[in-house]
Symmetry: C2
Subunit: 495 residues, 2 copies
């Protein structure tokens, strides 16, 4: 066979094609691998080339931010309060001014003095110092209104103080005694392990609930942790006993009726309403609980899935730490799962809010009226024994009202459950009014005037608050006490 | 070059492999094509080899069934009432017996006599003859309680009678005058064009609503038609004027408040409650309307998507015509979209029902009590003028109660909207009670007994119904009148 024949072109050409195809494939795979490796190496480099070496409790988020600039940059955006939406981002700043009935509901409790639209995590310390709810301790004869427990959700400095003082001692200290120690707003250390950056539960409340009920929060999955770090604070809790020990009332379950049963069994109340003398439970903010009862919770989503959507920046995928309504970035949040237009999705959220706000707006004034009817009955000789069933109904109704009102985003997180709870609130409020009326008639009272509580000022004056004094004291407090706290903190290297 | 060299095996082997591979591909494609063609030809054969040639109005579904055996076979399954679930398929047969408060709410109206769990489409004619709500016309001195309008949703024979008599004349005829004409239960002709089998709207109500509001139901998409054929009957409607002309009250919108405004403007009421003398709107069944307000409607689904899921039978894909709760076949209905277990999905439905049933169960007895308070006030000298605002509240509350209670599957179709509407019902009911109490006290009535309405018998006796007489008349009616209707229908070839 001749060489020419031996190397006949037909089979060779096929061979060359196969070879070239294979080569092209190898090159493409190589390119893909390079992209993957680049991403990996960038992620690895973040871990390996840390600028700051953080160990133990580090409350200063700016130090963490040097290692994790993207997360810190977006977290700093919680200082931006420019997002507006129909409800979520458009609340009146002074809520008592917009809804003065609340002053009656909280009469005898610090919330009747001051209740403002919530601001971003960036402002936790600033806002806490400024609110009338903590009083103006140290000004004139003003004393502490609150225990240190109130700081618990406001700052990573809390972790330092808990370690230093012991948890129980920390809780029972007066609020103002830690003014120069607790100075950094919520930050990285609240949710992250400084060495592994893994999500971690730092607050005792959730951990102790798990222990008490035979579980261990350490067994939580990553998905669960993406909600549980939020649930450290965004839950219903109370200050137990004289030690004001922060405790989660979940032992009988997470529904409004379950926690109510828990509190009733303890005969617990946060305050006695100054108008009706009703022992009231002030709901904190059962955000996590209501989230679990709604469609997204039922599907196993986590808080972070919608409030901290993933963002791609060059080769790095990270969680957006600008904690805000998902309506601010529907495409990154909702549209990851929902194939509807932004406008449709926004309107679906608004519709849910419309329904719940409608029911809340019916309940609120009727509940205030129920308190006032009891007061009128008292003034006309009704006894505590006669009024006991009315107060029981008011307590139950107000717990339900507050359960929805105090919970951030309840109308969206669990629209049906919110409506159900408010509906029972309306039911019980009117039952209270009917009973109160009966008692009034029994005491011969058929005609009476209801007070004018149509503005915050009128309502606050009706319940006997000296607001000018409280505000003057607060101004003095902000001018004299707070600057000293900041000065001391700086001297001690706390900020 | 030798033959051996010329036919060197190397390149040839490659060629043979390629050839065989190509052949295998061709064979596989051929097989696929054969399957597709078989399906097509089977579908084509259904259309081309019709056993029955149906033209015009054919109320006998068994004739259509010869051409479309799968659809007819499944439609016949609407006679099976063996599906049980926590709520949907497990209602007490006699609802008034289970919930006697309803007797008070409907006092003065035929529903107070008889209200039973709904049965499948198969039973529309049987059940209509048997209910006490149509009375026993022709027995003793019993006259017609209802106009022919009542037949409208019960049978395709209605189309024949509308064509023969004219729509307006048909509506105003006495119900019993068409007893021997309207004899076939709901069937194929109600929703299908006999020649093209396309979905078609046969009832004037929906068509006229579209015309009145400047639209044309003929522009509806196929998806919309898959709901609109159901909406021919599963909607809110009323019998307008002396001609009892079936009309949809949608002109101001589809929400409870919109239709209420429509009725109020007309000063329309279906009956005056015999206990409280309140003019009441009896809600029919706003199923379609509530469906549109819930999550599935908002996503653009149709009734048929869940209630008539596609089934594959050999080469043919068809819609299951066994109209029943989708919970009966979760895999064919829900799991087409939802990737959750059957148990999870079933429980999510039950949860929604639990919440709504809970609110309904609070509203129902309180509303009955409101009616009774007005009666007591009347007995103690309260005037119509005094009672007008109370009755207005009761009318509004009962409309809301019935809006949810009468609507099939409201709790699932639109859980939040159902809760919202019931919640306003509770609100208005208690406002009515409060006002009624004030009037009672004004008339010096501070103590009164509420009647015992704890059973259906006691409630019916309280409102003055002679049930033994009505039942005896019905038994006679079923024994003497109905057999004659059937005989005549058979003689005329109607069945």
């Amino acid at each position: 066979m001749s060489l020419k024949e031996k190397f006949s072109t037909g089979p060779w050409l096929i061979g060359i094609f196969i070879f070239c195809g294979a080569m092209a494939g190898v090159v493409l795979l190589g390119l893909l691998a390079a992209v993957v490796t680049e991403k990996r190496s960038e992620v690895a480099s973040i871990f390996n080339n840390k600028v700051e070496d953080i160990k133990g409790i580090e409350p200063k988020s700016e130090r963490w931010g040097k290692n994790y600039p993207r997360e810190y940059q977006t977290f700093k955006q919680t200082s931006e309060m420019n997002f507006k939406s129909k409800y979520l981002g458009n609340m009146p700043e002074d809520i008592l001014e917009a809804r003065p009935d609340m002053v009656i509901l909280w009469a005898g409790y610090a919330f009747a003095r001051d209740y403002r639209a919530p601001r971003g995590h960036w402002y936790t310390i600033e806002d806490m110092r400024a609110t009338l709810r903590v009083g103006s301790p140290g000004v004139g004869d003003s004393k502490d209104l609150q225990p240190a427990t109130c700081w618990t959700c406001k700052s990573p400095d809390v972790l330092r103080m808990m370690e230093k003082m012991g948890v129980a001692e920390y809780y029972k200290a007066p609020w103002s005694s830690l003014g120069s120690e607790i100075v950094n707003p919520i930050g990285c250390a609240d949710c992250h392990d400084p060495e592994t950056m893994e999500l971690t539960i730092t607050r005792p409340g959730v951990i102790e609930y798990y222990q008490r009920t035979g579980g261990d929060v350490k067994n939580a999955t990553i998905g669960e942790m993406r909600s549980l770090v939020c649930a450290q604070c965004h839950v219903e809790y109370y200050f137990k006993g004289d030690g004001k020990y922060l405790t989660l009332p979940w032992d009988k379950g997470l529904k409004a009726e379950d926690m109510e049963a828990y509190y009733d069994e303890l005969e617990y109340s946060d305050f006695v309403n100054a108008v009706s003398k009703t022992p009231i439970i002030k709901t904190q903010h059962p955000d996590y609980e209501l989230f679990l009862m709604g469609p997204h919770g039922e599907k196993g989503l986590s808080c972070a899935d919608c409030h901290m959507p993933y963002v791609s920046d060059g080769g790095v995928k990270y969680s957006n730490h600008h904690l805000v309504s998902p309506l601010k970035d529907i495409s990154a949040s909702c549209q990851v799962c929902h194939r509807d237009s932004e406008e449709t999705l926004r309107n679906l959220v608004y519709e849910r809010f419309d329904s719940i706000v409608e029911l809340r707006s019916r309940l609120e004034p009727e509940l205030a009226k129920a308190h006032i009817l009891v007061k009128i009955a008292m003034e006309n000789g009704a006894t505590d024994e006669e009024l006991a069933p009315v107060r029981k109904l008011i307590r139950a109704a107000q717990w339900r009202w507050d359960f929805v009102v105090a919970s951030h985003g309840a109308a969206f997180h669990a629209p049906l459950e919110s409506a159900r709870v408010l509906s029972h609130g309306i039911d019980k409020t009117f039952q209270a009014q009917l009973l109160a009326n009966e008692i009034l008639f029994k005491h011969g009272v058929t005609e009476f005037d209801l007070p004018d509580i149509s503005t915050k000022e009128k309502a606050q004056s009706y319940i006997g608050l000296d607001m000018p004094l409280l505000e003057a004291q607060k101004a003095e407090f902000m001018k004299t006490v707070v600057p000293k706290w900041i000065e001391t903190a700086k001297a001690n290297g706390r900020i």
